[in-house]
């Protein structure tokens, strides 16, 4: 018996055509955006590289000490000194800058979107499934379309990173706001708060620890993505790992890997508790 062959759906073709069309008509906008972001990234990288490493180490240690205490600060100091010694300082600065920029953009997008989704069930019905889609798609698939819009390099990397890393911020903003106790909302209403006052004085502050947990996850995802993004020339520590793979140099690969772990630990520990600090007495 003959089974009729059903022709393959032209899904890939359709996506390509759409992207081509978008590129042809809108790339000038995204390229402009790309120039701004890349100037920003370069500015921060050259600023941070201009400072002697020991100055930055002291700054980081002081900040970490104030945020979470001396143990983590001490561990950070040792980790950063090791990075410096391994000659990975400039790669670390590049990676850190990418994480910083991506996280900032993620929060700028994720927080308002999360607030909207928390307050409007219509918005959340659209946003939530999209988030699931964004997060389950393998991360580097985002890299491919990013290139025609933003060019090879750091900006494409950070755009793909933002797409991949924003969902936790949105998700936990929604969760945090939805879980503000009912009687606090009622108190806010009973004293005549406007919607805006209620949001700024009650919902956001009370949700802040949860929101910050989301931002912390965003930071960690950004870091992992920034490494993958080295495939499209984002440089930094990911670039070192990538070089090591291509040249089959396991030692160099491990050094860069350890550097990423150190950076991850410092970022994680120092942002984990930020949202909770207002609750304790100053």
């Amino acid at each position: 018996m003959m089974i009729p062959t059903i022709p393959k759906l032209p899904l890939a073709h359709g996506i390509d055509v759409t992207l081509d069309w978008l590129t042809a008509h809108f790339a000038f906008i995204t390229k402009g955006f790309s120039h701004v972001i890349s100037a920003l990234i370069e500015g921060i990288v050259s600023g941070l590289s201009w400072l002697p490493p020991w100055v930055l180490i002291i700054v980081v240690v002081v900040l970490v000490h104030r945020a979470v205490g001396w143990r983590v600060a001490l561990a950070s100091a040792l980790g950063l000194l090791l990075l410096w010694n391994l000659r990975l300082w400039s790669a670390t600065v590049e990676t850190f800058t990418l994480v910083l920029i991506s996280t900032l953009i993620s929060v700028l997008i994720g927080l308002p979107l999360g607030i909207l989704a928390a307050l409007s069930s219509r918005v959340s019905r659209v946003v939530m499934p999209t988030l699931d889609f964004m997060q389950t798609m393998p991360a580097f698939v985002y890299l491919i379309p990013a290139i025609p819009f933003f060019g090879l390099g750091a900006v494409s990397a950070s755009v793909a990173t933002v797409v991949f890393a924003t969902p936790p911020t949105i998700r936990l903003t929604v969760l945090g706001i939805r879980h503000v106790p009912e009687d606090l909302i009622e108190a806010a209403d009973a004293f005549g708060s406007t919607l805006r006052q209620k949001l700024l004085k009650v919902q956001l502050p009370v949700a802040m620890p949860t929101i910050m947990a989301g931002v912390n996850q965003t930071i960690m995802l950004s870091l992992s993505m920034v490494v993958v993004a080295a495939m499209i020339g984002a440089g930094g520590l990911g670039g070192k790992v990538w070089e090591a793979i291509q040249r089959l140099e396991p030692g160099q690969g491990f050094e860069a890997g350890i550097a990423i772990v150190i950076l991850a630990m410092i970022l994680d520990r120092s942002t984990q508790r930020i949202g909770r600090s207002p609750f304790a007495k100053q």
């Binding site: 009687d183 108190a187 004293f191 006052q197 009650v202």
Partner: protein
């Protein structure tokens, strides 16, 4: 003057309240409405609140007390009926008028305090003022003033989680007082506190109200509390008002079997005696005290009469507030000739029936003395009434559930 008038107020929860109203008008019961997917909050509730009155709304859990209270500042939108605050119908007011009502005219105290965890005590108290747009210096001053009123000096900078439940509720009260609204809504405000602290809070609320002339609507499910603080009591059941009146009126003429079950007791009264009903006399006067001293003692604790005892606690008699008041105005120095020495006394074993009998004739607190006339304690009306209610409380709750 009547500051709040509630007229034929009905609230039905659910997606189609109009449909629920139609069912109600057709004479369907709450249960039938529930089966049709409507939850009945309150039905055709009408009453007025006098300016400066402390009105208690009482009823079992689920009887619609919170729903009613929350209609006053439109946290619940009534399905039908009117609420007039001052001379304005709040069910028709615009968004701006509603904000103004909530900001300046009606403030609220919550059962579980509802303090903002990220704000210090003073910033919590200042919340209402902040929302009004009052500048920082003024709102801090006013918040601190309100904290003083509720006895929380020096706690401005603490955070809510550092305070006990009683203190947190003082903060909640201060937050409501800080906006200087005329009307205070209190939804089971003291129910989450343990009994001793609760008693203190009741007394303080009563004295604050006397000082500040607030109109207060206070919700409770506790008869004891209702009798302790209420000028009048509104009794609710299944969303409807069953009876409105002073505690005396409700006790003497219970409107129906439901109210009667709250207050009446025949079978078990013979088991109660003065000994089991009496409480410690918290304030007493001595024969050598001056009228002014005694008067101050009494106004502090808001008694209408006070017992006079010798230093060894031998009962001399009692003095009424009116007599003292007159004596102070006449400039007298001593209370000895104001003392009523023939006031009735109880023995520890006097049964409740007899106490009730005496209470009908003697409007003041009854002293309990031993055979040498040493004062052992006092029996108050509230104690008697609540003891009667308590011995009935369990069957009442069970009945209402079914």
């Amino acid at each position: 003057m009547q500051i709040i008038k509630v007229k034929h107020l009905t609230k039905i929860f659910g997606p189609h309240p109009e449909q629920g109203l139609r069912l109600l008008d057709a004479g369907k019961s709450n249960g039938q409405l529930r089966e049709a997917g409507h939850a009945v909050g309150i039905v055709d509730v009408s009453f007025e609140v006098e300016e400066g009155e402390l009105l208690v709304i009482m009823g079992l859990s689920g009887s619609g007390k919170s729903t009613l209270l929350r209609c006053v500042n439109l946290l619940n939108i009534p399905s039908r009926g009117q609420i007039i605050v001052g001379d304005e119908d709040v069910t028709r007011c615009s968004h701006e008028q509603l904000l103004d009502l909530r900001r300046r005219r009606v403030s609220m105290v919550f059962q579980h305090f509802a303090l903002l965890p990220h704000r210090s005590v003073v910033d919590n108290v200042a919340y209402g003022l902040e929302v009004q747009g009052i500048n920082e210096d003024e709102r801090r001053d006013r918040a601190i003033e309100a904290l003083h009123l509720v006895g929380l000096k020096d706690w401005e900078e603490a955070y809510p989680h550092q305070l006990s439940g009683g203190m947190q509720q003082r903060v909640g009260l201060a937050r409501a007082l800080a906006v200087k609204s005329d009307i205070l809504l209190m939804d089971e405000a003291f129910s989450a506190l343990d009994p001793l602290i609760r008693h203190d809070m009741q007394q303080e609320l009563a004295s604050l109200q006397r000082q500040m002339k607030k109109t207060i609507i206070f919700i409770t499910h506790d008869l004891d509390e209702a009798l302790e603080i209420g000028d009048r009591i509104v009794l609710m059941r299944e969303g409807r008002v069953v009876q409105i009146g002073t505690s005396e009126e409700i006790l003497n003429n219970p409107a129906d079997a439901y109210v009667e079950r709250f207050v009446e007791n025949v079978d078990t009264s013979h088991m109660l005696t003065a000994q089991s009903l009496m409480v410690r006399a918290r304030e007493v006067a001595h024969p050598q005290d001056g009228p002014r001293t005694v008067l101050r003692k009494m106004t502090e604790i808001s008694y209408t009469s006070i017992l006079v005892v010798e230093r060894d606690h031998t009962l001399v008699g009692s003095v009424t507030l009116d007599a003292l008041d007159a004596a102070v105005r006449e400039g007298r120095r001593s209370i000895t000739d104001l003392i009523q020495r023939d006031a009735p006394t109880l023995a520890p074993e006097t049964p409740l029936a007899e106490i009730l009998h005496l209470m009908a004739e003697w409007p003041y607190r009854l002293p309990v003395v031993n055979e040498r006339r040493r004062l052992l304690g006092v029996v108050t009306r509230t104690r008697v009434i609540s003891a009667l209610a308590q011995s009935r409380a369990e069957p009442t709750a069970a009945d209402a559930e079914s």
